[in-house]
């Protein structure tokens, strides 16, 4: 019991168990003086001064890249719209969350609708003009009702 209480009083535990690399203290003075008087290599100095800015810039670029990548993968605003099965695959693979799809699915469908409408715009206008010239008002109404 007494030995237990005195375990830390073992003199051996107070001895220094560490070694230092050979020649360390003799070169320490030169290294510190080089830092104080700015005699470190130019690239090293530039890096030391700009490190935090570079790291911050890289973080923003990475975040932007991730956002851009996700946007392109989801193809929001692109005429070649990702199919529903493609979107589900992205969810399964963990690239997109369900909530993301819920929020933007209408926009995806709207984009597809708009792109289809734009491609057929000229044809629809021509068809309407031809119909208007050849049909009576009642026939037009009937046509619109059926189409």
């Amino acid at each position: 019991m007494e030995q237990n209480n005195n375990i830390l009083e073992n003199k051996h535990l107070r001895e220094n168990p560490y070694k230092v690399p050979v020649g360390y203290f003799s070169q320490l003075e030169d290294e510190v003086n080089a830092k104080i008087h700015g005699k470190a290599s130019l690239p090293s100095r530039i890096w030391m001064k700009s490190k935090s800015v570079v790291v911050l810039a890289c973080s923003f670029i990475l975040l932007w890249g991730l956002g851009y990548g996700i946007f392109n993968v989801a193809n929001l605003g692109n005429k070649s719209v990702t199919t529903e099965s493609g979107l589900l695959a992205l969810i399964d693979e963990g690239y997109l969350s369900d909530s993301f799809i819920e929020d933007y699915y209408d926009e995806i469908n709207l984009s597809e609708y708009m792109s289809n409408f734009e491609e057929n715009d000229e044809l629809n206008e021509t068809t309407v003009n031809e119909i208007e010239e050849s049909m009576t008002s009642n026939e037009i109404l009937e046509y619109l009702y059926n189409n």
């Binding site: 019991m1 030995q3 237990n4 209480n5 375990i7 830390l8 073992n10 051996h12 535990l13 107070r14 001895e15 220094n16 168990p17 560490y18 070694k19 230092v20 690399p21 360390y24 203290f25 320490l28 003075e29 290294e31 510190v32 003086n33 830092k35 104080i36």
Partner: protein, 182 residues
């Protein structure tokens, strides 16, 4: 050379020469103090160099109300405590395993030449909060008086004694656990 003579040389304008004299006189003692707190040679080297650079920058403001060594010791200890706190926070945020968490890690370090008992002791010290680690190291290894410790760490002799008492018991309990004493 006495500190007073070194300071006189500094005041004569031979600042680089005086600073180098201070570095040669005290850097080894500071190194070993930091090494016991930080374990790794690389971290110790970084903090020691930061300390010496701070000493250089603040020598014009050194007020001679404490000995040069006590002043340098204070800078070095605070640098080490700040470093340890930053490291602990970083490890928590990144869910990273703390280096030297067990005796095998410490023994694997090529600059560690101690035995298992000394490695176990270091593991126990590493588990202490940074300031408590400093208190334990200064008292246990350097046998520093509490009055001198107050100059380095601040606080009161009472609070430092309590801190050491807690640290001592924690370290002792850890050693008893790993050595399986009854």
């Amino acid at each position: 050379m006495e500190d007073k003579d070194i300071l006189d040389i500094y005041k004569e304008g031979k600042k680089d020469y005086a600073f180098n004299l201070i570095t040669r006189k005290y850097s080894e003692r500071l190194y070993w103090h930091l090494r016991k707190l930080l374990n790794s040679h690389e971290d110790t080297n970084d903090i020691l160099q930061d300390t010496l650079i701070k000493v250089w920058k603040n020598l014009p403001n050194y007020r001679e109300d404490s000995k040069i060594y006590t002043w340098m010791y204070r800078i070095a200890t605070n640098e080490a405590i700040t470093f340890l706190k930053r490291q602990q926070l970083k490890n928590k945020l990144l869910f990273k395993k703390i280096d030297n968490e067990n005796a095998d890690d410490i023994i694997a370090d090529p600059t560690f030449s101690g035995d298992k008992a000394q490695a176990d002791l270091q593991v126990a010290i590493n588990a202490l909060p940074p300031k408590q680690r400093a208190v334990f190291s200064l008292r246990y290894f350097d046998e520093m008086k509490y009055d001198d410790m107050v100059e380095i760490l601040g606080g009161t002799t009472g609070s430092l004694k309590a801190s050491y008492h807690h640290a001592y018991n924690k370290v002792k309990d850890h050693l008893l656990k790993v050595t399986n004493y009854e």
